[in-house]
């Protein structure tokens, strides 16, 4: 039987741009161009590698986001994913992580899965909580923050590098995994891949299709509220000296003056 792999990806504002908040204190998606979150490229890459090593596999990429989020799906399809699902609904604007995990869980169940692959975090919210929430909601093992992994005989194994130890993990499928930026460079889409992606199916779903009540999601349904957002004042330029043989000593004098020595 075919191994059904679902990759969850997020369309985010480019981290190298000047990201801002909109008036309602949600992420301003117009201020900066969006793209597939860099950390999700690693998830797509690992999903493709697992599929390539399996006898028969299908990779579906899923996103929850506005119309433009289609770009993120196209990128994943051009890398080699087989098909895509786009959950899009005006009522989703302002949904928090808990709400997003609900929508993704329903979408993943709608697709059908043996393995769900996520990135370690998004590059905008950077919470890193979604894979764990998804596993909780789906009621399947979470095998997360893997820097090395393999899937064989209905089992996923991998290495998780923690703060105090490196752990070798193992769980039976179906499971939710997340992969780190150490799991392996993501491939670039080939010209052929980009052309092929245009013909690959993208299924569009709204909240009704997934049986989700609009009140459970969106800004109003969020279980957290941002009260204010303040732009951090630019750091005032400090003293800069050019080393002419005394740079080390001058720096030591500065550090001593600040009581660090």
């Amino acid at each position: 039987m075919s191994l059904r792999i679902v990759v969850c990806v997020k369309y985010v504002p480019d981290a190298t741009g000047d990201r801002q908040f909109a008036d309602d204190l949600t992420t301003d998606r117009d201020a900066v161009d969006g793209l597939l979150s860099e950390l999700d490229e690693y998830a797509v890459e690992q999903a493709l590698q697992i599929a390539e090593n399996a006898d028969d596999a299908e990779v579906t990429v899923v996103t929850v986001g506005p119309e433009d989020a289609n770009d993120a799906l196209r990128k994943a399809l051009s890398m080699g994913a087989d098909k895509a699902v786009h959950v899009e609904d005006d009522d989703l604007h302002g949904t928090d992580a808990v709400g997003t995990s609900l929508v993704l869980a329903k979408a993943v169940e709608h697709v059908g899965y043996d393995l769900v692959v996520c990135g370690m975090a998004s590059t905008d919210g950077v919470m890193g909580v979604l894979p764990a929430m998804l596993a909780e909601r789906l009621g399947v093992p979470q095998v997360t923050l893997l820097s090395e992994l393999s899937v064989a005989d209905g089992t996923v194994s991998g290495r998780r590098d923690g703060d105090t130890a490196s752990e070798q993990l193992q769980a039976a499928l179906p499971a939710v995994i997340s992969v780190t930026d150490q799991s392996g460079e993501a491939r670039y889409p080939s010209f052929k891949g980009i052309m092929a992606a245009k013909k690959k199916p993208v299924e569009s779903l709204d909240l009704d299709d997934l049986g989700i009540d609009a009140e459970e999601v969106g800004l109003e349904g969020a279980w957290t509220a941002v009260e204010d957002a303040t732009k951090r004042p630019p750091r005032t330029a400090g003293e800069i000296v050019t080393d002419e043989g005394e740079g080390g000593k001058q720096l030591a004098a500065f550090l001593a003056g600040q009581k660090f020595i």
Binding site: A132, P141, E167, G238, G248, L255
Partner: protein, 320 residues
Amino acid sequence: MAEVLVYVDHVDGTVRKPTLELLTLARRLGDPVAVHLGPGAETAAPVLAEYGAVKILAADAPEFADYLVVPKVDGLQAAAGAVSPAAVLVPSSAEGKEIAARLAVRLGSGIITDAVDLTAGEEGPVATQSVFAASYTTRSRVSRGVPVITVKPNATAPEAAPVDVAVEQLEVSFGEQATGTRIVSRTPRESTGRPDLTEAAIVVSGGRGVNGAENFPLIEALADSLGAAVGASRAAVDAGWYPHSSQVGQTGKTVSPQLYIAAGISGAIQHRAGMQTSKTIVAINKDAEAPIFELVDYGVVGDLFEVVPALTEEVKARKG
């Protein structure tokens, strides 16, 4: 006074510093109740009491060490059921955030991660976060359920407030998911003898300019002279010069030390995201146009192979 649950991050009863910071913050919101899962509660108890834990809920079972994350969620959920807390605070480690995430879904609660400060508000705790690569500061609160909040290391300085503590046994029944992901083996990280990167008061980091693994001892020598942790930029890590566990930046660790010294680091957004909230920033770089100089309190334009050893010598001389 309302009780506030604090999840204890420990290694066999040796309490890690961020937990003491959490206890300090928890006292602003109510009476801290520490939740100690796994072995060593007796070892941890005096330390937790010194920082104000009025009660310790302790449970030990092999599941905590043998399976990933979920048994600890079961434990924390049992504690939440036992005390009806005003908030649940968890250290913002990778594991801490996952425990908090699942607990929030179970409790039907909102979650805030990576708080850098926490104050009591009229409608519950208000968490300060540093977002978009530290270009914005936000203040948020949980609007539904028991607030579940993860707090970054160095959010506050641990302050002792000794109390008498009672250790109570916590009954934990493990759910079906608890044994889903087995930890087959565990290799402890080799100790470098230096402070932990995210907890250190001073961090010295090297980047592309260090130009090879063989030159990192220069950075380490400066760090050792200052009692600092060693960090590295993504460029240095990707080049294989220093381990990923030391990477500072968007995809590595976020640090917020009293003093951050960047040597041979240009200061790309990826790196700035991980160190921009440091109190004092110092850089050494041969390129006067490097963006890192926009952030510094003191910068030296020069060759790090000259400046770093000279600085190390001078620090040693001044410290006698």
